[in-house]
């Protein structure tokens, strides 16, 4: 037992580093009361070190801690993605006037970001329903608090409470589903559930209810319709840095967990189980049909409602709901190509979405406004920021030559390959709708005169460097995407599968 735990610990370094940094950040705030600059540096250092250990885990495929979590290429991919996002968010926080205005509690802010990152790392690797619940709960609790971090603003506390009530409700429903699933199969680890369904067979109606209830929990995390109600309010009310973090990392962790849960629990794992790269469903419950419906609802509602939004944070919130819908299409097709497409999309989405939120933050820092009208004439007031924003928005629409196009291309290719033509058509129509509201922002920036203030907006060099660091991959991956595709294809390998 002890040997096994020590062995597991050596595979658990990224998370251990985060826990250490978390405790140090809290302590530093108590010890160095005068110097508030230490906690952010500890957070940044901890995240970099943990990202280094994540890259060290490349190629490992192992179950650790009595089969509670796994370290496999799939988990490593998502941990890498989440780690990069967390580092960028910490960098954003240095320049966010919203966050810096809460100077007194800055230590807790960074320690909570570390706890949130840890929760997402665990979500990426959890293979036991118990671990899934704990990881979701760690992620959710810290997100509730961070969403309400700038408590002086009433919006922020409201966002927190809404987030919390919806979150607690969906956790409750998910737990009920888990309890039924446990009763049916007598197991809580997903390999055991698979074995029980494959060899003993279970009642389909009961299984369906359990799966739908568990899907509520996942749907909440990835903000899929109809579990999205919290998203716009929370994205609008929370500090921009946290909104950006939730929109990318939290969604990624949710997808990682959902794909792993469905892939391992309800797909035939026996050798020779999949003839030509298509997965074989166990028993009769076609959960992918349910996911297909959710996907269509999610992207359609996200895009249609985004058209009416005047606040840019809300607009991006609905756009992120729509993007969750696109990515769900990759889960529907039941093939490795589909999952690889989701991974590619996430890598691309990381840069373009964080970039868009970063621009919103920079502009809000200077003008104090987030509505679309305040972007009038931004093209003249700050050309670099405006042009970068254009690139991010084009990429979010999915037009060449940006990375967003590559993401969509692989998704649609996977759909066509699996004969899901109608879903691909719905996805394509949705992209057209999304063009409309993204162009509305572009038009405001370049074709409209600024309402009152025409003075140029200046940004510091460091801020521009971070911006450029996000623009480059957004364009580069649109032109040279082979390494991205290779990375994604290598990362679809899950422990115990194939």
């Amino acid at each position: 037992m002890v040997e096994q735990i020590l062995e597991s610990l050596s595979r658990f370094l990224p998370e251990t580093v985060l826990v250490g940094a978390l405790c140090l950040a809290i302590l530093s705030d108590l010890v160095f009361r005068q110097n508030r600059g230490i906690a952010p540096l500890i957070a940044l250092g901890g995240l970099f070190l943990s990202l280094y250990y994540v890259t060290e885990q490349a190629g490992v495929s192992q179950q650790i801690f009595s089969g509670m979590i796994v370290v496999d290429p799939f988990a490593v991919f998502f941990k890498f993605l989440i780690g990069v996002t967390a580092i960028l968010i910490v960098l954003f926080s240095f320049y966010s006037s919203e966050v810096q205005s809460t100077q007194k509690r800055i230590g807790e802010y960074f320690s909570l970001i570390l706890a949130l990152t840890l929760g997402m790392y665990l979500m990426a690797g959890a293979v036991n329903l118990l671990m899934m619940v704990l990881a979701i709960e760690l992620t959710s609790l810290t997100s509730y608090i961070l969403a309400g971090y700038t408590r002086e603003a009433p919006d922020s506390s409201e966002a927190s409470l809404k987030y919390m009530i919806y979150g607690a409700l969906s956790t409750g429903l998910m737990l009920y589903g888990i309890s039924i699933l446990y009763g049916l199969t007598g197991a809580t680890d997903i390999y055991g559930i698979n074995a029980s369904i494959a060899y003993n067979g279970v009642n389909e109606v009961t299984l369906l209810i359990a799966v739908i209830l568990i899907l509520v929990g996942f749907g909440y995390k990835i903000s899929a319709v109809p579990f999205h109600f919290w998203t716009p309010d929370v994205y609008e009310g929370a500090p921009v840095t946290i909104t950006a973090f939730l929109s990318v990392a939290s969604k990624a962790a949710g997808f990682a967990m959902m794909i792993r849960f469905f892939r391992v629990s309800f797909i035939d794992l026996t050798p020779g189980g999949f003839p030509d790269e298509m997965w074989v469903l166990l028993q009769g419950i076609e959960w992918n049909k349910i996911v297909a419906i959710i996907s269509v609802l999610t992207m359609t509602l996200g895009n249609l409602v985004a058209v009416w939004q005047d606040n840019l944070k809300r607009l991006l919130a609905y756009s992120s709901i729509a993007h969750a819908g696109y990515m769900l299409m990759g889960v529907v097709v039941l093939s490795n190509a589909g999952v690889a497409a989701v991974l590619i999309y996430f890598m691309v989405y990381l840069f373009m979405n964080l970039g868009a939120f970063y621009v919103v933050m920079l502009v809000a820092n200077k003008t104090g406004k987030e509505d679309i009208d305040s972007y009038k004439g931004l093209g003249y007031r700050s050309p670099i920021v405006a042009v970068s924003f254009v690139i991010f928005l084009i990429s979010l629409t999915g037009l060449p030559p940006t990375a967003g196009f590559i993401g969509k291309l692989y998704l649609f290719a996977a759909l066509f390959e699996a004969k899901w033509i109608w879903l691909a058509v719905v996805g394509a129509l949705n992209s057209v709708v999304s063009l409309y509201y993204y162009v509305r922002v572009l038009r405001n920036m370049f074709l409209r005169d600024p309402a009152e203030d025409k003075s140029p907006i200046e940004f510091s060099t460091a801020q521009i460097v971070v911006l450029i660091a996000l623009v480059i991959p957004t364009i580069l991956f649109g032109l040279y995407f082979a390494p991205l595709v290779d990375f994604a294809n290598a990362s679809i390998v899950m422990f115990g599968v194939r």
Binding site: M1, E108, A115, L130, L134, L184, G186, N203
Partner: protein, 170 residues
């Protein structure tokens, strides 16, 4: 009827009645006290299932810690009778109740017609697995990892609760 059956029906009646009282009382203090009653009846139900350890911590953690927290906040915010809110019935709420009832009927159907594959028969190995020794042994071997993660969850919750609740009164 066996003792287990008598206890089951008695405690089931108490727990459902108290649950209904929790969500129908206007004064949050009354609700909280009925919730404590509900927790106690559940503790009794756990005993009928031979889950001694769970029954004890149900009382200690829920009735002892969580409910005290609730009552403390109600009193801190001074939400007595005067603060009770008038509840309104809206279309959304009716829809919610309708959906919930449909869900309930569905579950009852599944259970009632025994179309499920739930384990049948009697409580097996109950006296063995419900004890503190057995659970403790599991907890610090197979479940050591989640146990440790729980400590981080609680640390984050403590930090968060302090951050949210501590604020200069101005």
């Amino acid at each position: 009827m066996t003792l287990q059956a008598v206890l089951f029906y008695l405690l089931a009646a108490v727990s459902i009645a108290s649950a209904i009282m929790v969500i129908t009382r206007r004064n949050p203090v009354t609700s909280a006290l009925f919730l404590v009653l509900n927790f106690f009846s559940l503790g009794g139900l756990y005993l009928t299932l031979h889950a001694q350890f769970i029954a004890v911590i149900q009382i200690l953690v829920y009735a002892g810690a969580i409910m005290v927290l609730f009552l403390f906040v109600i009193m801190l915010l001074n939400l007595g009778d005067s603060q009770s809110l008038r509840e309104v019935i809206s279309l959304r709420k009716l829809a919610g109740v309708g959906l919930s009832t449909a869900f309930l009927l569905e579950i009852i159907y599944i259970l009632g017609f025994r179309v499920s594959d739930f384990p049948a028969g009697e409580v097996t190995r109950g006296l063995e697995i419900g004890t503190v020794e057995y659970i403790g042994q599991k907890l610090f071997t197979d479940y050591l990892f989640p146990f440790e993660i729980t400590s981080i969850l609680l640390l984050a919750a403590i930090v968060g609760a302090v951050v949210m609740a501590k604020r200069k009164l101005d």
